[in-house]
Symmetry: C2
Subunit: 332 residues, 2 copies
């Protein structure tokens, strides 16, 4: 399944919310990501536009949304976005089309009527959009693996996206405090002097996360042809890592060193919003095996990549700069 | 916390349900484990006694249970046992005491009034007792690790119970069909000829599972002194393993090779039922580091072990025989 480019992606489209038109905004009218937010005690779903949040529960009350678009908004109006992810993709797409129409310059949205459904982002608290039931951490960067292995990547890393199950209960939204964990670690690399105490080598990895729609039944795989349709949207991930604990414990892979916290961005950018950024999947070079038949899909090879630049900063200093299209394995 | 021996543990106590008194029953009146079961479309919690299940919803209707015992039965009367695990331990203990009294020979239970709450086990389907939100697989047998390592255990395995996060969504109750997974594996050990197809080396491990009560808040550890109180009860586990897939994929530990299914026994044996089997935790021998201070608790060292013989059979042939008290790490 390839998501088609439509009017919501038109780069010329502007919003009557002025802050959504500035060149440096993360939230132009072409994006329209979802989040769960709170003002006072009131929790509900919203969509970002410039420095505002469109309050979907309030928008529903205006009666301006109808049909499947209203159904999707209803699914996002409660205390979790889980029902939204379970919605029919066509309904979520219809809601996007309606929002784009209501809030675009020259659209049928009446500014006076709609001002009341806008919440200043600065006055809202962004929450975990839903409680994840599982969380799998894939290592899909062959460059990262080669750097760690100081040369040749293991065959398995070129044959499949190696992964481990993370701890879903420790996934938190950006801004949540991170507690430096206590644990056991070697006093020096390779030393048998094992200490217990606060982790001495705390760091984080820049990762890219995907929220899945409803899962598959146990024992019934989703083939490559259907994999793209299982993706709802994406988020940024900071994979907090206690390296001292991790290096010492790793007999069965990472565990306590990765289980104390994983931060995600509260905004879920839909796969539809990313349609204009789709590019060919990374090819295979000399000495690299072809993608195995069960992971090979012509549509995925031609459109499976995503051209998005990602950077990470620490205390204002840029420490990572990469692009999603460099990943060895596609999201599908 | 050490659970005290009480009247429910009295080895001389017999039930008026004759099948609960046979020497080979798994379900004497001293056990009283919980399960979720179905007859027709009706799902609810029950307690095993001989070849019968005490239907807790039906028992509640008789009005014979009162106070906190009735509260615990109510928590087990719905379509999941999750509320039961969240009950106050004193309430679950009160229910056990009441059940033992009602169904014991010479107790205050009126056989004629209670026959109606008994369901023949043969006519019931046992279900997953609740949907686990997480599942961690600990390797707590130092003997297993030494055998795998062909000699000395890694220092980490002697310093902490090494573990990985399993896939909670693939945990199924005994009797559920297991689908042999497809995956990638080496044609022969060490070969670079990688095949995709049905797993050629399917096996299972005999493990012992623990159901936890409500968890801790993120970043707030449970100390050893409070760990025992976090345990609700236990079950048997068969950890299905696709060895071909596992051996090939293991860069970040086990993943797909362990994620296709994990079978548990549907019965949850409470920690209270195990009280008479508590023994000293396994000690540390020559060349083995002492238990680290943060994992050391005098009560746990003196009562942390459990003396239960475990066996596994395959097609009628016994292939494993061990005892829980041999574990290097206690449940706490």
């Amino acid at each position: 399944m390839t998501i088609e480019i439509n009017a919501t992606h038109d780069p010329a489209r502007r919003s009557w919310i002025e802050s959504a038109n500035t060149p440096d905004t993360d939230f132009p009218i072409q994006n329209l990501p979802f989040a769960l937010f709170r003002t006072g005690d009131h929790v509900r779903g919203g969509v970002a536009l410039g420095d505002r949040i469109v309050d979907l529960a309030a928008l529903l009350e205006t009666g301006l949304l109808t049909g499947t678009a209203a159904e999707a908004a209803q699914a996002a109006a409660g205390r979790t976005l889980a029902p939204l992810l379970a919605c029919a993709p066509t309904a979520v797409s219809a809601l996007r089309a309606e929002l784009s129409e209501l809030f675009r310059e020259g659209g049928r949205g009446d500014r006076a009527a709609l001002e009341g459904v806008l919440v200043p982002m600065a006055s809202a608290e962004l929450l975990m959009p839903l409680k994840p039931t599982a969380f799998t951490d894939f290592c899909t960067s062959i460059d990262h693996i080669r750097r760690m292995a100081q040369g040749a990547a293991p065959l398995a890393a070129m044959a499949l996206p190696v992964a481990y199950n993370g701890r879903a209960s420790s996934v938190v939204a950006s801004g949540a405090p991170i507690v430096r964990p206590n644990g056991q670690f070697a006093a020096a690399p390779g030393s048998s002097d094992i200490r217990f105490g606060p982790e001495p080598m705390l760091d984080f990895e820049l990762e890219f996360g995907v929220w899945l729609r409803d899962g598959n039944a146990l024992g019934v795989p989703i083939g490559m042809a259907g994999a793209e349709a299982a993706l709802f949207g994406c988020c940024l991930v900071n994979d907090w890592s206690a390296r001292g604990i991790q290096f010492f414990e790793s007999i069965l892979g990472p565990h306590l060193g990765k289980s104390f916290a994983t931060t995600i961005s509260p905004w879920i950018v839909t796969m539809e919003a990313l349609a204009p950024f789709r590019v060919a999947a990374r090819g295979r070079g000399e000495g690299e095996p072809e993608v195995s038949a069960h992971l090979h899909d012509p549509a995925d090879r031609s459109h499976g990549g995503i051209d998005i630049e990602l950077t990470a900063e620490l205390a204002g200093q840029r420490i990572v700069r990469t692009n999603l299209k460099e990943l060895y394995w596609t999201l599908a």
